[in-house]
């Protein structure tokens, strides 16, 4: 058990008087170093903000000069394009609708994703952020295998290979530190990843893959088309 407090001292007593910080459970993100070197906000930070903003506007202007925003024929409710696609950030969802019934793909899964994002900071496990395998190794292993088997089974049932394959790869990566005894390099890095890290990384991989498939690999009747056959 680590001690609950830490004495902080500064070499420069005028600048930072001696102080004691009570850090219960070592959870707060704020207190990490005894004292940090400080710089004036103006000009050090302000100049970076201005330069970053200017570069952004310049890049936007160049892109806007080179690439025109799309404009098709006037809206016609009589004529449905094939395929009819949502804006790109919804194409992951539209891809889900291809596999799951509308209530699951269009309502339950996205609602779960938003709720999961909101509750992240309210779970103690996400605050402590300790490696997945740090405590209760056997129990964690069992729960992980059961949950992942269930998820994989559902994905297999609906033939969602685009989600199944990344899910299996992520699970394999989660299991590497359990079986490997190596304490250096990539394996030990994997070993220190907390549960929330794994879930978020899995989520991001799935979102990117589904969005990419919906954007570039889907053509008429939502059939699989390669990007070189045309992007719809």
């Amino acid at each position: 058990m680590d001690k609950d407090f830490k004495v902080e001292e500064s070499v420069d007593v005028k600048k930072v008087p001696k102080r004691i910080a009570f850090i219960k459970g070592r959870t707060a993100a704020r207190v990490k170093k005894a004292d940090d070197e400080m710089v004036m906000t103006f000009p050090n930070l302000v100049i970076i903000e201005i330069i970053a903003f200017e570069i952004m506007v310049i890049v936007l202007a160049i892109v806007s000069l080179l690439v025109d925003a799309p404009l098709e024929w006037i809206a016609n409710p009589e004529h449905t394009p094939n395929p009819a696609k949502a804006p790109w950030y919804f194409l992951g969802l539209q891809e889900l609708l291809h596999y799951f019934p509308p209530v699951v793909g269009g309502v339950i899964l996205p609602a779960l994703a938003v709720i999961a994002l909101i509750v992240i900071p309210y779970f103690r496990i996400n605050i402590k952020r300790e490696g997945l395998w740090k405590e209760h190794r056997k129990q964690t292993f069992l729960v992980l295998i059961i949950v992942m088997a269930m998820v994989s089974f559902i994905l297999l049932m609906f033939k969602v290979y685009a989600m199944l394959i990344p899910t299996l790869i992520v699970t394999a990566c989660m299991l590497i530190p359990y079986f490997s005894k190596k304490e250096v390099g990539f394996v030990s890095w994997l070993d220190t990843r907390p549960l929330s890290w794994w879930i978020m990384t899995w989520f991001v991989i799935i979102v990117v893959i589904l969005t990419a498939i919906g954007t570039m690999f889907r053509g008429p009747e939502w059939s699989w088309t390669w990007p070189w056959e045309g992007i719809y």
């Binding site: 959870t27 707060a28 993100a29 704020r30 940090d36 070197e37 400080m38 710089v39 004036m40 906000t41 103006f42 000009p43 930070l45 302000v46 970076i48 903000e49 970053a52 903003f53 506007v57 936007l60 892109v63 806007s64 000069l65 690439v67 025109d68 925003a69 404009l71 024929w73 006037i74 809206a75 016609n76 409710p77 004529h79 449905t80 394009p81 009819a84 696609k85 949502a86 804006p87 790109w88 950030y89 919804f90 969802l93 539209q94 609708l97 509308p102 209530v103 269009g106 309502v107 938003v114 909101i118 992240i120 900071p121 309210y122 996400n126 605050i127 952020r129 929330s196 890290w197 978020m200």
Partner: protein
């Protein structure tokens, strides 16, 4: 040079900026806390939080994109009427009649796409650095709402050109909304579209949501978001 010095000493200048030129640490600090726009920052920041790769400037860039979108959006409003078929003919006018109209629309379009991506990357950065931990839990929640609002802003804007892309893009998503059970989906979709199909009522509603309601809500939440970042020890 002398002229400038006299100007900076003049009563007019001093009435606007009460501090001297930022030549000493004292006046540099005053530059921050006597300025309405800069006072969200502390006068001093940790050296490591100034490093660009600490945050990748993603939150700041999201705000920057919001400013670009507000400016280009306001200019676009001058040439746009949310009715059928004027909405579409106004797009054609922007393309062929209005000076730099196409450029203006391009800038608005690409900045909007960029903002969705940048806000998402900002969320990832905050997650992977664990910056959602107490006392910042609630600010993370506001951030998630702002991400949703960013997507809604982009989505409501998507209908406005009133071309095939807009019409069917919006139809696809409103059909998803209809899938919400217990008859709620139908109600929400009716409220959103002002009818059962994507028509002129939907165009007006999306226009008002896009140009007024969502930006105002987002601006208020951004104010709270930045203020809380500062109060919790950020820059």
């Amino acid at each position: 040079m002398k002229m400038f010095e006299q100007f900076f000493q003049s009563q007019v200048w001093r009435s606007m900026f009460r501090h001297g030129l930022p030549e000493s640490d004292r006046t540099r600090a005053e530059t921050i806390f006597y300025n309405f726009f800069l006072h969200v920052h502390p006068t001093k920041v940790r050296k490591r939080s100034v490093r660009f790769t600490y945050t990748w400037g993603l939150g700041g860039l999201s705000f920057g994109l919001f400013i670009v979108l507000t400016v280009t959006g306001a200019l676009l409003m001058l040439y746009y009427r949310p009715s059928v078929p004027q909405a579409y003919t106004d797009m054609k006018d922007l393309q062929f009649v209005v000076s730099s109209g196409q450029f203006l629309r391009n800038m608005h379009r690409w900045a909007a796409h960029a903002m969705v991506a940048v806000v998402f990357f900002h969320m990832l950065r905050v997650f992977y650095t664990g910056s959602y931990r107490p006392p910042k839990e609630f600010n993370w929640l506001i951030g998630v709402i702002l991400l949703v609002l960013t997507i809604l802003l982009s989505y409501t804007g998507y209908l406005l050109p009133w071309d095939q892309l807009s019409f069917w893009g919006i139809s696809v998503v409103t059909n998803m909304v209809r899938a919400i059970p217990f008859g709620l989906g139908e109600k929400i979709s009716f409220l959103l579209l002002g009818g059962n199909i994507v028509g002129e009522n939907a165009l007006v509603r999306f226009y008002v949501l896009h140009c007024f309601i969502i930006p105002v809500v987002a601006t208020v939440l951004m104010g709270i978001h930045f203020w809380r970042v500062r109060k919790d020890g950020g820059v």
